[in-house]
Symmetry: C2
Subunit: 268 residues, 2 copies
């Protein structure tokens, strides 16, 4: 069986000094360098592959310090503190000896408690009723995902008119792959810059820092399987070259799997 390109993209090799090495993957290339979602997944995977891991991912913050170049990288993941049921990780990615991303993560042993989804999945048409995104985006990573925008898709006219930045879309791997934490981390970054949607302005833009909270436990990931995810993203403010974005990811059954927030650079 051919390995899934996402598994190839997050593959890491542990070195004798405890660091991990990996390579960016051409299938997940962005305009310049790799898709940031893949970078986040690689950093998280170093934690998941670490021999001292306790529990499952609860939160992940990734800071994009510099453009990640196509090619080899080193990831250092260190448990800064291990408690009885939570563990705090400090992570960095280096290329040619320079820090290109920093990250922190929290892993936790999940236990049964009272549970409640306070915000409900929005009422939207089923995935089969929503056409897949068409077009000719030049970035390779777009082809790895089946994306079906419901509202707030990529603008077809860049006329500078003001619109809600809300995007809702159905999303899954183009080649089916059961959902896990690395792919959930990657898909949490799938939304194009909110300034594109809000302002119909194709200005250069990119994520500076992203934080994802994983609400899904292992059983909920398994129940989601290869099904569609509903992603929703919106900005609250644009100012001084930066805007924010808050996103939610539900499975088709309406379970909130992740909430994710980021601060984004935009040029003008």
């Amino acid at each position: 069986m051919t390995p899934h390109s996402f598994d190839e993209s997050i593959a890491l090799t542990r070195q004798p000094d405890g660091s991990f090495t990996g390579n960016t993957h051409p299938a997940y290339a962005n305009m310049v360098g790799p898709y940031g979602g893949t970078t986040a997944a690689q950093l998280l995977n170093a934690v998941l592959q670490h021999p001292d891991l306790l529990g499952e991912p609860l939160s992940l913050t990734v800071n994009f310090c510099a453009g990640v170049a196509d090619g080899a990288f080193v990831v250092n993941a260190k448990p800064a503190r291990t408690n009885r049921s939570t563990q705090h990780w400090t992570i960095e990615m280096l290329q040619t000896g320079e820090v290109v991303t920093t990250a922190t993560a929290v892993t936790a042993v999940r236990r049964e408690t009272w549970a409640d989804d306070e915000i409900s999945m929005p009422t939207v048409p089923a995935p089969a009723e929503v056409p897949a995104q068409t077009g000719h985006a030049p970035m390779a990573f777009i082809k790895q995902y089946d994306m079906r925008p419901i509202v707030g898709g990529m603008p077809s006219e860049w006329d500078g008119s003001l619109h809600s930045s809300l995007t809702q879309l159905w999303l899954r791997d183009q080649q089916p792959r059961p959902l896990d934490y690395p792919s959930l981390a990657a898909m949490s970054d799938i939304f194009y810059p909110r300034v594109f949607v809000r302002r119909r302005s194709p200005t250069p833009a990119g994520t500076v820092s992203i934080t994802t909270y994983f609400h899904a436990n292992a059983a909920q990931l398994a129940q989601t399987g290869t099904g569609y995810l509903l992603g929703q993203a919106r900005a609250s403010a644009f100012r001084n070259g930066f805007s924010d974005q808050s996103a939610q990811i539900w499975n088709e059954a309406g379970v909130l799997l992740a909430s994710s927030h980021q601060i984004v650079y935009f040029k003008g």
Copy 2:
């Protein structure tokens, strides 16, 4: 003039090895140890006091790895990467040689661009029309803030009934102090655990990781001055001992100053 207790609480002394030392402040004590908002402000202040600082705070993520004890602490703040207009910081707080918090921050040189607040401040009564929170909370830090809950105040009956977790409140320092980035970082953590409001359940709870995005530039902080802030917070999901919270902070003029997100432990 007597220094403001908040300035005392975030005061740091730079050591010959480049680290900073400080002390928790009794005026900002929580039930056990210090109010987490003060801890976040101390970590940010180490960045602001660092001789290599570039720009102003854009984002701050603080991970509460272990309970911070009352008393002395050391903060190490290191610029992991300095770009032309952004700088990425890795920060940690230690007590008796053990890591108690980790953090990352991004600072940036703000420049003029198109600006737009997409979400509007909710329509609420003016601060003068909202009674100050009364009661007899045992935590000292509560007394440092003038808090005027509009909806979702601290429950008076812990009857287990289900309610929206939305809290809206007016907020400012009890002793007037012009707003700056450390106090905005501190106030972003002012909201009591969402499980209290949602479930009317006084279960033990505490912030695990908080990320704050600073939308305010220096001019907007100066315009805010000692005025009231409108804080709003809401959860999206409670599961497996953790819940999230998304918060917004506006000034009285309706400018969004910060958005802040956290993942919170709750016992049951």
